[in-house]
Amino acid sequence: MCANILRAFTFHKELSSLLAIIDFFKTFFSSSDLFLQGLWLTVQLTAASLIIAFFIGLLFALFKISNIKILDGIADVYIWVVRGTPLIVQIFVLFYGLYEIVELNAFWAGTAGLAFHNGAYIAEIIRGSIQSIDKGQHEAGRSLGMKRGLMMRRIVLPQAFRRAIPSLGNQFIIGLKDSSLVSFIGMQELFGVSNTQGSNNYDFLTYYLIVAIYYLVIVLILTLIVRKVERKLAESD
Protein backbone atom coordinates (compact mmCIF):
# COMPACT_ATOMS: atom_id res chain seq x y z
CA MET A 1 0.00 0.00 0.00
CA CYS A 2 2.59 2.36 1.14
CA ALA A 3 4.84 1.26 -1.65
CA ASN A 4 2.11 1.87 -4.18
CA ILE A 5 1.59 5.40 -3.02
CA LEU A 6 5.28 6.00 -3.09
CA ARG A 7 5.50 4.58 -6.62
CA ALA A 8 2.66 6.80 -7.74
CA PHE A 9 4.29 9.76 -6.13
CA THR A 10 7.67 9.23 -7.76
CA PHE A 11 5.98 8.56 -11.09
CA HIS A 12 4.17 11.79 -10.74
CA LYS A 13 7.43 13.50 -9.87
CA GLU A 14 9.16 12.09 -12.94
CA LEU A 15 6.23 13.04 -15.09
CA SER A 16 6.18 16.55 -13.78
CA SER A 17 9.89 17.01 -14.37
CA LEU A 18 9.45 15.64 -17.90
CA LEU A 19 6.62 18.10 -18.44
CA ALA A 20 8.77 20.87 -17.02
CA ILE A 21 11.50 20.06 -19.53
CA ILE A 22 9.01 20.01 -22.39
CA ASP A 23 7.66 23.32 -21.13
CA PHE A 24 11.14 24.76 -21.02
CA PHE A 25 11.84 23.91 -24.63
CA LYS A 26 8.46 25.19 -25.68
CA THR A 27 9.35 28.51 -24.10
CA PHE A 28 12.85 28.31 -25.58
CA PHE A 29 11.50 28.02 -29.12
CA SER A 30 8.56 30.36 -28.73
CA SER A 31 10.85 33.09 -27.41
CA SER A 32 13.54 32.50 -30.02
CA ASP A 33 12.49 35.47 -32.19
CA LEU A 34 13.03 37.89 -29.34
CA PHE A 35 16.25 36.24 -28.23
CA LEU A 36 17.64 36.18 -31.76
CA GLN A 37 17.02 39.92 -31.98
CA GLY A 38 18.85 40.29 -28.68
CA LEU A 39 21.63 38.03 -29.95
CA TRP A 40 22.05 40.17 -33.06
CA LEU A 41 22.38 43.25 -30.89
CA THR A 42 24.90 41.48 -28.64
CA VAL A 43 26.95 40.51 -31.69
CA GLN A 44 26.90 44.09 -32.99
CA LEU A 45 27.83 45.55 -29.61
CA THR A 46 30.61 43.02 -29.10
CA ALA A 47 32.04 43.38 -32.60
CA ALA A 48 31.95 47.19 -32.58
CA SER A 49 33.36 47.53 -29.08
CA LEU A 50 36.12 44.94 -29.53
CA ILE A 51 37.27 46.36 -32.85
CA ILE A 52 37.54 49.81 -31.27
CA ALA A 53 39.08 48.30 -28.12
CA PHE A 54 41.74 46.58 -30.23
CA PHE A 55 42.92 49.86 -31.72
CA ILE A 56 42.75 51.61 -28.34
CA GLY A 57 44.78 48.73 -26.91
CA LEU A 58 47.34 48.88 -29.70
CA LEU A 59 47.72 52.63 -29.28
CA PHE A 60 48.24 52.44 -25.51
CA ALA A 61 50.56 49.45 -25.84
CA LEU A 62 52.72 51.57 -28.17
CA PHE A 63 52.50 54.44 -25.64
CA LYS A 64 53.79 52.06 -22.96
CA ILE A 65 56.83 51.00 -24.95
CA SER A 66 57.51 54.40 -26.53
CA ASN A 67 60.15 55.47 -23.97
CA ILE A 68 58.35 58.83 -23.93
CA LYS A 69 57.55 59.55 -20.30
CA ILE A 70 54.34 61.51 -20.85
CA LEU A 71 52.82 58.88 -23.15
CA ASP A 72 53.84 56.12 -20.78
CA GLY A 73 52.21 58.09 -17.95
CA ILE A 74 48.96 58.60 -19.87
CA ALA A 75 48.77 54.86 -20.56
CA ASP A 76 49.42 54.08 -16.89
CA VAL A 77 46.61 56.36 -15.74
CA TYR A 78 44.19 54.92 -18.29
CA ILE A 79 44.93 51.33 -17.28
CA TRP A 80 44.77 52.27 -13.61
CA VAL A 81 41.31 53.89 -13.99
CA VAL A 82 39.88 50.99 -15.99
CA ARG A 83 41.23 48.33 -13.68
CA GLY A 84 40.30 50.27 -10.58
CA THR A 85 36.60 50.80 -11.32
CA PRO A 86 33.77 48.38 -12.08
CA LEU A 87 32.69 48.11 -15.69
CA ILE A 88 29.09 48.90 -14.72
CA VAL A 89 30.25 52.20 -13.24
CA GLN A 90 32.21 53.00 -16.39
CA ILE A 91 29.15 52.30 -18.53
CA PHE A 92 26.91 54.50 -16.40
CA VAL A 93 29.43 57.34 -16.26
CA LEU A 94 29.86 57.26 -20.04
CA PHE A 95 26.11 56.95 -20.63
CA TYR A 96 25.10 59.84 -18.37
CA GLY A 97 28.34 61.79 -18.71
CA LEU A 98 28.72 61.72 -22.47
CA TYR A 99 25.05 62.59 -22.77
CA GLU A 100 25.98 66.02 -21.40
CA ILE A 101 28.46 66.58 -24.20
CA VAL A 102 27.22 64.69 -27.23
CA GLU A 103 23.89 63.11 -27.85
CA LEU A 104 24.96 59.51 -27.67
CA ASN A 105 22.34 56.81 -27.92
CA ALA A 106 22.48 53.78 -25.66
CA PHE A 107 24.14 51.66 -28.34
CA TRP A 108 27.10 53.96 -28.79
CA ALA A 109 27.37 54.78 -25.10
CA GLY A 110 27.45 51.05 -24.39
CA THR A 111 29.94 50.43 -27.17
CA ALA A 112 32.12 53.26 -25.90
CA GLY A 113 32.01 51.86 -22.36
CA LEU A 114 32.90 48.35 -23.45
CA ALA A 115 35.64 49.58 -25.80
CA PHE A 116 37.12 51.82 -23.11
CA HIS A 117 37.14 48.91 -20.67
CA ASN A 118 38.47 46.15 -22.93
CA GLY A 119 41.02 48.51 -24.48
CA ALA A 120 43.00 48.61 -21.23
CA TYR A 121 43.22 44.85 -20.95
CA ILE A 122 44.06 44.49 -24.62
CA ALA A 123 46.78 47.15 -24.21
CA GLU A 124 48.42 45.04 -21.51
CA ILE A 125 48.15 41.87 -23.61
CA ILE A 126 49.73 43.53 -26.65
CA ARG A 127 52.43 45.26 -24.60
CA GLY A 128 53.37 41.94 -23.01
CA SER A 129 53.60 40.16 -26.32
CA ILE A 130 55.63 42.96 -27.92
CA GLN A 131 58.08 42.84 -25.04
CA SER A 132 58.33 39.06 -25.31
CA ILE A 133 59.83 39.35 -28.81
CA ASP A 134 63.53 38.53 -28.71
CA LYS A 135 65.94 41.47 -28.57
CA GLY A 136 67.81 39.87 -31.46
CA GLN A 137 64.89 40.65 -33.77
CA HIS A 138 65.29 44.36 -33.05
CA GLU A 139 69.04 44.14 -33.55
CA ALA A 140 68.67 42.30 -36.83
CA GLY A 141 66.24 44.94 -38.05
CA ARG A 142 68.47 47.80 -36.97
CA SER A 143 71.53 46.19 -38.50
CA LEU A 144 69.68 46.16 -41.83
CA GLY A 145 69.07 49.89 -41.58
CA MET A 146 65.41 49.70 -40.57
CA LYS A 147 63.87 52.66 -38.78
CA ARG A 148 61.99 51.97 -35.58
CA GLY A 149 58.53 52.41 -37.09
CA LEU A 150 59.25 50.14 -40.03
CA MET A 151 60.69 47.50 -37.74
CA MET A 152 57.64 47.63 -35.49
CA ARG A 153 55.28 47.34 -38.41
CA ARG A 154 57.06 44.67 -40.42
CA ILE A 155 59.01 42.63 -37.87
CA VAL A 156 57.88 43.03 -34.27
CA LEU A 157 54.09 43.52 -34.43
CA PRO A 158 53.33 40.60 -36.77
CA GLN A 159 55.18 38.27 -34.40
CA ALA A 160 53.67 39.88 -31.32
CA PHE A 161 50.10 39.47 -32.64
CA ARG A 162 50.65 35.78 -33.25
CA ARG A 163 51.82 35.38 -29.73
CA ALA A 164 48.89 37.44 -28.40
CA ILE A 165 46.14 35.48 -30.10
CA PRO A 166 45.33 33.04 -27.26
CA SER A 167 45.14 35.88 -24.72
CA LEU A 168 43.24 38.14 -27.12
CA GLY A 169 40.74 35.35 -27.77
CA ASN A 170 40.25 35.00 -24.05
CA GLN A 171 39.70 38.73 -23.67
CA PHE A 172 37.22 38.71 -26.57
CA ILE A 173 35.18 36.05 -24.76
CA ILE A 174 35.22 38.13 -21.58
CA GLY A 175 34.20 41.18 -23.64
CA LEU A 176 31.34 39.28 -25.21
CA LYS A 177 29.95 38.21 -21.84
CA ASP A 178 30.51 41.64 -20.27
CA SER A 179 28.38 43.19 -23.00
CA SER A 180 25.42 41.91 -20.95
CA LEU A 181 25.96 44.86 -18.60
CA VAL A 182 24.72 47.39 -21.15
CA SER A 183 21.24 46.01 -20.50
CA PHE A 184 21.33 48.32 -17.47
CA ILE A 185 21.31 51.37 -19.74
CA GLY A 186 18.23 49.99 -21.43
CA MET A 187 19.67 47.95 -24.26
CA GLN A 188 17.63 44.92 -25.25
CA GLU A 189 20.57 42.74 -26.04
CA LEU A 190 20.59 39.06 -25.01
CA PHE A 191 20.58 39.60 -21.27
CA GLY A 192 18.18 42.54 -21.58
CA VAL A 193 15.71 40.29 -23.41
CA SER A 194 15.92 37.63 -20.72
CA ASN A 195 15.32 40.25 -18.03
CA THR A 196 12.28 41.68 -19.77
CA GLN A 197 10.80 38.29 -20.61
CA GLY A 198 11.44 37.05 -17.08
CA SER A 199 9.56 39.91 -15.52
CA ASN A 200 6.76 39.90 -18.11
CA ASN A 201 6.07 36.23 -17.52
CA TYR A 202 6.90 36.09 -13.80
CA ASP A 203 9.40 33.33 -14.57
CA PHE A 204 12.97 34.57 -14.26
CA LEU A 205 14.64 31.19 -13.89
CA THR A 206 13.40 29.86 -17.23
CA TYR A 207 14.54 32.93 -19.17
CA TYR A 208 17.91 33.12 -17.44
CA LEU A 209 18.48 29.45 -18.27
CA ILE A 210 17.54 30.15 -21.87
CA VAL A 211 19.91 33.10 -22.12
CA ALA A 212 22.69 30.98 -20.59
CA ILE A 213 22.31 28.53 -23.48
CA TYR A 214 22.64 31.34 -26.02
CA TYR A 215 25.82 32.60 -24.35
CA LEU A 216 27.27 29.09 -24.15
CA VAL A 217 26.73 28.55 -27.86
CA ILE A 218 28.24 31.85 -29.05
CA VAL A 219 31.22 31.50 -26.72
CA LEU A 220 31.74 28.01 -28.08
CA ILE A 221 31.67 29.35 -31.64
CA LEU A 222 34.12 32.12 -30.74
CA THR A 223 36.43 29.61 -29.04
CA LEU A 224 36.44 27.41 -32.14
CA ILE A 225 37.24 30.39 -34.36
CA VAL A 226 40.17 31.43 -32.14
CA ARG A 227 41.48 27.88 -32.12
CA LYS A 228 41.28 27.69 -35.90
CA VAL A 229 43.17 30.98 -36.33
CA GLU A 230 45.83 29.77 -33.89
CA ARG A 231 46.30 26.55 -35.80
CA LYS A 232 46.46 28.35 -39.11
CA LEU A 233 49.22 30.67 -37.89
CA ALA A 234 51.12 27.82 -36.26
CA GLU A 235 51.52 26.19 -39.68
CA SER A 236 53.93 28.86 -40.87
CA ASP A 237 56.04 28.78 -37.71
Partner: protein
Protein backbone atom coordinates in the same frame (compact mmCIF):
# COMPACT_ATOMS: atom_id res chain seq x y z
CA UNK B 1 99.15 48.16 -50.45
CA UNK B 2 99.15 51.85 -49.71
CA UNK B 3 96.41 52.68 -52.23
CA UNK B 4 93.89 50.56 -50.39
CA UNK B 5 91.22 52.71 -48.79
CA UNK B 6 90.63 52.76 -45.03
CA UNK B 7 87.19 51.20 -44.60
CA UNK B 8 87.09 51.48 -40.82
CA UNK B 9 89.31 53.64 -38.64
CA UNK B 10 88.84 53.60 -34.91
CA UNK B 11 90.80 55.90 -32.63
CA UNK B 12 90.88 56.01 -28.85
CA UNK B 13 87.55 54.23 -28.53
CA UNK B 14 86.24 53.84 -24.98
CA UNK B 15 83.05 52.15 -23.88
CA UNK B 16 81.56 51.74 -20.42
CA UNK B 17 78.67 49.63 -19.20
CA UNK B 18 77.84 51.55 -16.05
CA UNK B 19 81.08 51.50 -14.08
CA UNK B 20 82.53 48.67 -16.11
CA UNK B 21 85.18 49.84 -18.57
CA UNK B 22 84.73 47.33 -21.39
CA UNK B 23 86.74 48.95 -24.19
CA UNK B 24 89.93 50.82 -23.39
CA UNK B 25 91.56 53.13 -25.94
CA UNK B 26 90.95 50.88 -28.90
CA UNK B 27 92.76 51.78 -32.14
CA UNK B 28 92.15 49.73 -35.26
CA UNK B 29 92.27 50.41 -38.96
CA UNK B 30 90.64 48.03 -41.40
CA UNK B 31 91.56 48.45 -45.03
CA UNK B 32 89.55 47.54 -48.09
CA UNK B 33 89.19 43.77 -48.61
CA UNK B 34 90.93 43.03 -45.34
CA UNK B 35 89.67 40.23 -43.13
CA UNK B 36 90.31 41.11 -39.51
CA UNK B 37 89.76 38.39 -36.94
CA UNK B 38 89.09 39.44 -33.36
CA UNK B 39 89.93 36.82 -30.75
CA UNK B 40 90.02 36.76 -27.00
CA UNK B 41 88.41 35.16 -23.99
CA UNK B 42 84.74 35.87 -23.30
CA UNK B 43 84.38 39.21 -21.57
CA UNK B 44 87.42 40.62 -23.36
CA UNK B 45 85.25 43.15 -25.20
CA UNK B 46 85.55 41.75 -28.72
CA UNK B 47 81.81 41.45 -29.31
CA UNK B 48 81.20 44.90 -27.83
CA UNK B 49 83.81 46.33 -30.17
CA UNK B 50 82.06 44.73 -33.13
CA UNK B 51 78.70 46.03 -31.99
CA UNK B 52 80.16 49.54 -31.69
CA UNK B 53 81.11 49.35 -35.37
CA UNK B 54 77.45 48.90 -36.24
CA UNK B 55 76.31 51.37 -33.55
CA UNK B 56 74.22 48.72 -31.81
CA UNK B 57 76.33 49.92 -28.87
CA UNK B 58 77.26 53.56 -28.71
CA UNK B 59 80.78 54.58 -27.76
CA UNK B 60 81.52 56.83 -24.80
CA UNK B 61 84.54 58.50 -26.36
CA UNK B 62 86.86 58.27 -29.34
CA UNK B 63 86.13 58.35 -33.05
CA UNK B 64 84.75 55.84 -35.51
CA UNK B 65 85.36 56.61 -39.17
CA UNK B 66 83.56 54.52 -41.77
CA UNK B 67 84.75 54.91 -45.37
CA UNK B 68 86.35 58.25 -44.63
CA UNK B 69 83.34 59.70 -42.84
CA UNK B 70 83.55 60.21 -39.10
CA UNK B 71 80.27 58.98 -37.67
CA UNK B 72 78.71 60.67 -34.67
CA UNK B 73 75.47 59.12 -33.41
CA UNK B 74 74.02 62.55 -32.60
CA UNK B 75 74.43 64.00 -36.05
CA UNK B 76 74.44 61.03 -38.43
CA UNK B 77 71.52 58.92 -39.55
CA UNK B 78 72.81 55.61 -38.20
CA UNK B 79 70.33 53.69 -40.32
CA UNK B 80 72.07 55.01 -43.41
CA UNK B 81 75.43 53.89 -42.03
CA UNK B 82 74.05 50.46 -41.19
CA UNK B 83 72.94 50.00 -44.78
CA UNK B 84 76.63 49.94 -45.67
CA UNK B 85 77.72 47.77 -42.75
CA UNK B 86 76.15 44.31 -42.63
CA UNK B 87 76.05 42.22 -39.49
CA UNK B 88 75.71 38.50 -38.84
CA UNK B 89 74.76 37.38 -35.34
CA UNK B 90 75.61 34.36 -33.23
CA UNK B 91 71.94 33.41 -32.95
CA UNK B 92 71.09 34.24 -36.59
CA UNK B 93 68.09 36.41 -35.66
CA UNK B 94 66.16 35.47 -38.78
CA UNK B 95 62.59 36.75 -38.98
CA UNK B 96 60.60 33.62 -38.04
CA UNK B 97 57.33 34.81 -39.57
CA UNK B 98 58.89 35.26 -43.00
CA UNK B 99 60.08 32.68 -45.49
CA UNK B 100 63.75 32.44 -46.40
CA UNK B 101 63.33 34.57 -49.52
CA UNK B 102 61.15 37.10 -47.66
CA UNK B 103 63.88 37.43 -45.03
CA UNK B 104 66.37 38.29 -47.74
CA UNK B 105 64.23 40.77 -49.71
CA UNK B 106 62.68 42.55 -46.70
CA UNK B 107 65.31 45.26 -46.23
CA UNK B 108 66.12 45.88 -49.92
CA UNK B 109 62.43 46.55 -50.60
CA UNK B 110 61.44 48.43 -47.45
CA UNK B 111 64.69 50.18 -46.56
CA UNK B 112 66.32 50.78 -49.92
CA UNK B 113 63.11 51.00 -51.90
CA UNK B 114 64.15 48.56 -54.63
CA UNK B 115 61.22 47.21 -56.64
CA UNK B 116 60.07 43.78 -55.68
CA UNK B 117 60.88 41.95 -58.92
CA UNK B 118 64.46 43.18 -58.79
CA UNK B 119 64.81 42.33 -55.09
CA UNK B 120 63.44 38.82 -55.66
CA UNK B 121 65.86 38.26 -58.54
CA UNK B 122 68.85 39.40 -56.50
CA UNK B 123 67.64 37.58 -53.41
CA UNK B 124 67.38 34.30 -55.29
CA UNK B 125 70.87 34.79 -56.72
CA UNK B 126 72.26 35.32 -53.22
CA UNK B 127 70.47 32.27 -51.85
CA UNK B 128 71.79 30.22 -54.76
CA UNK B 129 75.26 31.48 -53.94
CA UNK B 130 75.09 30.37 -50.29
CA UNK B 131 73.77 26.99 -51.41
CA UNK B 132 70.13 27.42 -50.46
CA UNK B 133 68.61 27.63 -53.93
CA UNK B 134 66.03 24.99 -52.99
CA UNK B 135 64.81 26.72 -49.82
CA UNK B 136 63.24 29.99 -51.03
CA UNK B 137 59.79 29.34 -49.60
CA UNK B 138 60.78 27.44 -46.47
CA UNK B 139 60.34 29.04 -43.05
CA UNK B 140 63.42 29.42 -40.82
CA UNK B 141 62.11 26.96 -38.22
CA UNK B 142 62.53 24.18 -40.79
CA UNK B 143 66.24 24.89 -41.36
CA UNK B 144 69.35 23.59 -39.64
CA UNK B 145 71.56 26.05 -37.76
CA UNK B 146 74.07 26.13 -40.58
CA UNK B 147 71.38 26.84 -43.13
CA UNK B 148 69.91 29.57 -40.93
CA UNK B 149 73.28 31.26 -40.67
CA UNK B 150 73.78 31.13 -44.42
CA UNK B 151 70.36 32.74 -44.88
CA UNK B 152 71.41 35.42 -42.40
CA UNK B 153 74.56 36.05 -44.43
CA UNK B 154 72.51 36.30 -47.63
CA UNK B 155 70.09 38.67 -45.89
CA UNK B 156 72.96 41.00 -44.95
CA UNK B 157 74.52 40.79 -48.38
CA UNK B 158 71.21 41.72 -49.99
CA UNK B 159 71.78 45.30 -48.78
CA UNK B 160 75.04 45.32 -50.77
CA UNK B 161 77.14 46.38 -47.80
CA UNK B 162 80.74 47.48 -48.14
CA UNK B 163 81.71 45.91 -44.83
CA UNK B 164 80.50 42.74 -43.13
CA UNK B 165 80.68 42.12 -39.38
CA UNK B 166 80.40 38.60 -37.97
CA UNK B 167 79.70 38.12 -34.28
CA UNK B 168 80.68 34.55 -33.39
CA UNK B 169 78.80 33.24 -36.42
CA UNK B 170 79.51 29.57 -35.72
CA UNK B 171 79.38 29.48 -31.92
CA UNK B 172 75.74 28.37 -31.76
CA UNK B 173 76.18 25.62 -34.35
CA UNK B 174 76.61 21.89 -34.01
CA UNK B 175 80.20 21.02 -34.89
CA UNK B 176 79.31 19.28 -38.15
CA UNK B 177 77.55 22.45 -39.40
CA UNK B 178 80.41 24.88 -38.74
CA UNK B 179 82.22 24.04 -41.98
CA UNK B 180 79.44 25.11 -44.35
CA UNK B 181 79.20 28.55 -42.75
CA UNK B 182 82.96 29.08 -42.72
CA UNK B 183 83.11 28.02 -46.38
CA UNK B 184 80.53 30.69 -47.24
CA UNK B 185 82.54 33.29 -45.32
CA UNK B 186 85.75 32.22 -47.00
CA UNK B 187 84.14 32.58 -50.40
CA UNK B 188 83.03 36.07 -49.43
CA UNK B 189 86.55 36.99 -48.33
CA UNK B 190 87.96 35.73 -51.61
CA UNK B 191 85.55 38.00 -53.48
CA UNK B 192 87.17 40.94 -51.70
CA UNK B 193 84.61 41.75 -49.01
CA UNK B 194 85.95 43.75 -46.08
CA UNK B 195 85.22 41.67 -43.00
CA UNK B 196 85.61 41.89 -39.25
CA UNK B 197 85.05 38.54 -37.60
CA UNK B 198 84.76 37.64 -33.93
CA UNK B 199 85.38 33.92 -33.73
CA UNK B 200 86.92 31.05 -31.84
CA UNK B 201 87.67 29.19 -35.08
CA UNK B 202 91.45 29.44 -35.19
CA UNK B 203 91.71 27.40 -38.37
CA UNK B 204 89.56 30.00 -40.13
CA UNK B 205 91.56 32.84 -38.58
CA UNK B 206 94.80 31.39 -39.87
CA UNK B 207 93.56 30.46 -43.30
CA UNK B 208 91.32 33.41 -44.19
CA UNK B 209 92.36 36.22 -41.83
CA UNK B 210 94.69 38.99 -42.98
CA UNK B 211 95.02 40.33 -39.48
CA UNK B 212 94.59 38.79 -36.08
CA UNK B 213 93.72 41.04 -33.18
CA UNK B 214 93.93 39.60 -29.69
CA UNK B 215 91.94 41.36 -26.98
CA UNK B 216 92.21 40.98 -23.24
CA UNK B 217 90.15 42.86 -20.64
CA UNK B 218 89.08 45.56 -23.05
CA UNK B 219 92.48 46.23 -24.58
CA UNK B 220 94.16 45.14 -27.76
CA UNK B 221 97.13 43.18 -26.50
CA UNK B 222 98.60 41.94 -29.75
CA UNK B 223 97.95 42.17 -33.47
CA UNK B 224 99.59 40.95 -36.57
CA UNK B 225 99.57 38.43 -39.37
CA UNK B 226 97.64 35.40 -38.04
CA UNK B 227 100.34 32.92 -39.02
CA UNK B 228 103.03 34.90 -37.21
CA UNK B 229 100.95 35.45 -34.11
CA UNK B 230 100.18 31.74 -33.96
CA UNK B 231 103.83 30.75 -34.55
CA UNK B 232 105.40 33.06 -32.03
CA UNK B 233 103.11 35.30 -30.01
CA UNK B 234 105.06 38.15 -28.46
CA UNK B 235 102.89 38.82 -25.45
CA UNK B 236 102.67 36.41 -22.57
CA UNK B 237 98.87 36.70 -22.34
CA UNK B 238 98.53 35.85 -26.03
CA UNK B 239 100.70 32.79 -25.51
CA UNK B 240 98.54 31.66 -22.63
CA UNK B 241 95.36 32.27 -24.57
CA UNK B 242 96.57 30.37 -27.61
CA UNK B 243 97.77 27.51 -25.43
CA UNK B 244 94.37 27.31 -23.78
CA UNK B 245 92.40 27.03 -26.99
CA UNK B 246 94.68 25.12 -29.39
Amino acid sequence: MSEKQDMIRIEKLNKFFGDLHVLKDIDITVKESDVVVLVGASGSGKSTLLRCLNFLELKNSGTITIEGEQIEPQTHDLNKVRERVGMVFQHFNLFPHKSVLENVIEAPIHVKGINKAQAVKEGKELLDKVGLGDKYDVYPSKLSGGQKQRVAIARSLAMKPDIMLFDEPTSALDPELVGEVLATMKQLAEEGMTMVVVTHEMGFAREVGDWLVYMHEGRIVERGNPGEVFENPKEKRTQEFLKSIL
